[in-house]
Symmetry: C2
Subunit: 627 residues, 2 copies
Amino acid sequence: MSDRKQFRDLVDPEVAHDAIDSLDLAPEPETVPLSEARGRVLAERVDADLDVPGFDRATVDGYAVRGRDTFGADEADPVTLDLVGTVHAGEEPDVPIGEGEAVEISTGAVMPDDADAVVMVERTEIDGERVRVRTAVAPGDNVMVAGSDVAAGARALGPGTRLTARDIGLLSALGRDAVPVRGRPKIGIVSTGDELVRPGEELNSARGEIYDVNSYTIAAGVEEAGGEAVLYPHAGDDYDEMERLLLEAADECDLVLSSGSTSASAVDVIYRVVEERGELLLHGVAVKPGKPMLIGELGDSAYVGLPGYPVSALTIFRTFVAPAIREAAGLPEPQTATARGRMAVRERYSEGRLRLMPAGLVTDSDGETLVYPVDKGSGATTSLVEADGVVAVDPDTEYLDQGEEVDVQLFSPDVRAPTLLAVGEDDPALSRILDALERPRFLPVGSREGLRRLSNSVPDVAVVAGPTERDVETVDLGGWEREWGLVVPDGNPDAVDGLSDLIDRDLAFVNRGRDAGLRASLDAALSDLADERGASLADLTESIRGFEAGTKGFESPARAVARGEADAGLGLRATAEKLGLTFVPVGVEDVRVRANPDRVEKPGVRELEATLAETDVYESLPGYERA
Amino acid sequence: MSDRKQFRDLVDPEVAHDAIDSLDLAPEPETVPLSEARGRVLAERVDADLDVPGFDRATVDGYAVRGRDTFGADEADPVTLDLVGTVHAGEEPDVPIGEGEAVEISTGAVMPDDADAVVMVERTEIDGERVRVRTAVAPGDNVMVAGSDVAAGARALGPGTRLTARDIGLLSALGRDAVPVRGRPKIGIVSTGDELVRPGEELNSARGEIYDVNSYTIAAGVEEAGGEAVLYPHAGDDYDEMERLLLEAADECDLVLSSGSTSASAVDVIYRVVEERGELLLHGVAVKPGKPMLIGELGDSAYVGLPGYPVSALTIFRTFVAPAIREAAGLPEPQTATARGRMAVRERYSEGRLRLMPAGLVTDSDGETLVYPVDKGSGATTSLVEADGVVAVDPDTEYLDQGEEVDVQLFSPDVRAPTLLAVGEDDPALSRILDALERPRFLPVGSREGLRRLSNSVPDVAVVAGPTERDVETVDLGGWEREWGLVVPDGNPDAVDGLSDLIDRDLAFVNRGRDAGLRASLDAALSDLADERGASLADLTESIRGFEAGTKGFESPARAVARGEADAGLGLRATAEKLGLTFVPVGVEDVRVRANPDRVEKPGVRELEATLAETDVYESLPGYERA
């Protein structure tokens, strides 16, 4: 087995695929009740062991007869037969049929002995104890012969069939209430890192704690691939604890996945456990993201170590691990999981290894798909939802040109391009307007950066607040006004009255970042104040404590005030009221939704324009007005 | 509401869609744990209520510094800073940074107060209590600022988002361990008909009992559409029992579906219950199959009555009910659920109403999709698995021409054409050979009918046993020999010796149908016997009791013998041994797999040819040999 080991520095991705294929993840088959069989994969062929139907069955309401007794009958010259009984569905016929006789029969009922055809009731009439038959029937007419749907002994469903409603229908007809199916591979997930906290628990940011993203993300990916995920407690950097956890998972599962920490020491501990208690086949794959992948065996289980950053972990999981889980579960590769589009921008590479580039999709007004790179750094969890799939870029590729056709491996087959790609200023009214749209995507990059991106022709629209420097040709779709100013603690304990207080008094202030429209409005107001005072803008801003630092979210300054970390923050009246703080008004700024002129006919942009014209979201937001 | 009632004889399908849309199936939203949220649909927008990350975070291993202290540093002229502490991931930094100071920091750790950049460890070296920095860093370098991934207050996910692994990743990052999702509509299923038996229970065929196909099939369809299925006990034709069951289901569910019986009396009882305890909006839709559809309300629940035959019930469910369930569950219409292909044969219509024609897919050697009608009668459950979708044929269409392009609405988006379409003689060796193929479909229509269909160019191959009359140009792919004869009770109590016993003694015989190769071999052997005896073939066959009747499956005659219903049956040595019966040999017949000459290059046909050349299935089948 040691010839499977691959310890050269970084192995080719194909070698990693082969190493994972060499592991055995397939669990034992199991038997499940029919009611739980949907989506499962048959472990073996199912042959019929009874006839369907199990008897010669009338397919219409009418009269069971011997066909030869009706020969020559027609409208002009009916045949009259003696009525000797009745049989309904679910009853056993109590009389056979003799020459010249008929039995009244319901759809689905058993044919009486010696009857071989049924005359539809519409072609008959009753005459006392006799029935007049106005058509001839041949033996077999209106009868479903025993076994004609499925005959006992016939092959009903083959091994590997993924059971849908239709297959379940056939299994029901065969009377099967339980079926042998492929087992779902059990995948143990061990997240590592002392800084991880489970969602729902209390987070201590001062200690650098973060929520564990990989456990639930990978668990969902495992289930999507047809496996069963088992979450184990977090492991820290302690060797004994890690060993105990990994061996417990290996004992209970078909595959153990570790992930979660980016810390070198935790990875090092895992490495040692797998080396000592199992076998490490391979570490390090020439792919970005995901270089530090481990592949090996631990006890009777397979083992794969995923990188720590969520986007890297999920990308490596999808590329290397999910296909192996599907294979073990007997599931086919998902269909139509690829979208073809043209690069919306030029993108440079010089990686020397396979690059799995997260990519977003956007459609132009003709419905053509454009592809743009989503590169927020592997540490960003928002890349997960801002990308639709990955483009595999060859190690030798130096750049992808604008307009070049690429294939995007979608994160799932039902991924569709958003109906609208918007960028720019984050805003509570905007959030509500987006809620009314079909499938929008909004990237809160701020007004300045939003306008820059719009000029690159990737997004459909930019949401721009406050004064702007940049002159970009756009089509205005509508907008609103919002009241901005200083957010101070409830009751305004420092009696802050306006911007002058920030300059003239020693107050701790929290600003927004430079891309924010709010910041641009603040700069403009301070500029006016500088003029008034005959001072320079720099003089003023230097005397504001905290002016240079910027925060990322529109609520961030107010939240810092709410936490008692600052005396005043830049923000909106709406935010102050939402958080129970006091608002000191400074001004009113415009927020405009500006469209890429090439996209105004796109359905998603029209939908946005119509929504902007009709929405009443401003009524419930303090300091807001349509404009 | 009475203007919604539609009691004209047969309403337009659009009217039925509108009537179902007018019903309210949408359940209340609910909150589910994150671990169960995959595939669910967000009921409301989720805003971030914390920053991600919650602190300024080092993105590399190295030294936290004040960027301005490194200005001008390079390889030739490093800057030396005092090392004042260490901070790992998951720890709270215990020292701030002063001028000219640095703190050792791990990836993911909290930046110490007043530090604004990190120098990668690779660009430094330790010198006792000091660190030599050989590069300049700007404020923000190698730091992920608090809230830069997601800022508190930002819109994270919109209402209507169907949660995938990626969304679950983002929710994890926000610390959410439970999410508000759209409720899954609860769909009650009431099967009706005294003749129905649940799979797994004992079936009394003499009474015309059949297994309940619709309950599990429709339940699986409900789950595929995002609903939750609840099965209720069967209802017979009794008014009070039906009323009690339907009202119980209406009380507990958002929608009640009845189905199962084809009996007019059960439908009549349901009709009365809905009229008296609810409101019937519509009955009878101009669509085939499915004319007898009911739409109404029952208590606070919606009600739809499906036709009784399984294929009709599932087709009507998919066409009219599943979209309403998806809508109520907040799920989008499934993508790519349509395949386009050319009609393989000409098909006539003169329906006067919308026809939902079950259709199968087959690919030709160029990979082009051909579409053929699957019409086994609505009562056949095998139509469920022999069709891949339906073609909606307009009421005015008189025929679909061979070669005409049609759209097939696939039964599910992941339906794919079988890799091989085989027809002809059913055979136990064939069943095993099919098990080895990727995605075969086999229709056991018998040798004669199989050859006829092959000449129509729909199937890829026909499996043909025994002598054939028809001369069809085919390519032989391989085959085997099988020993056939008479299957008699264990121990051969009547001391049957051969065909002569059937003619000369009064034995009850069970034959195969005329399409079976076994029957053709029997006819040939009897013909030889007639020549020997100087008699006509008709003389001989007339003296065999049961000769004219034919059974549907290759095991059927032997099974009749096993049940004690006959003294001898036409069959195979392999069947006799499988069922524990005695075999009286008569002859050996060839089974050949014959391909449509146009399809020999098709991958599925090549796979079959290779399997035929290699298989060893004959070794374990008595009376079999490769030929």
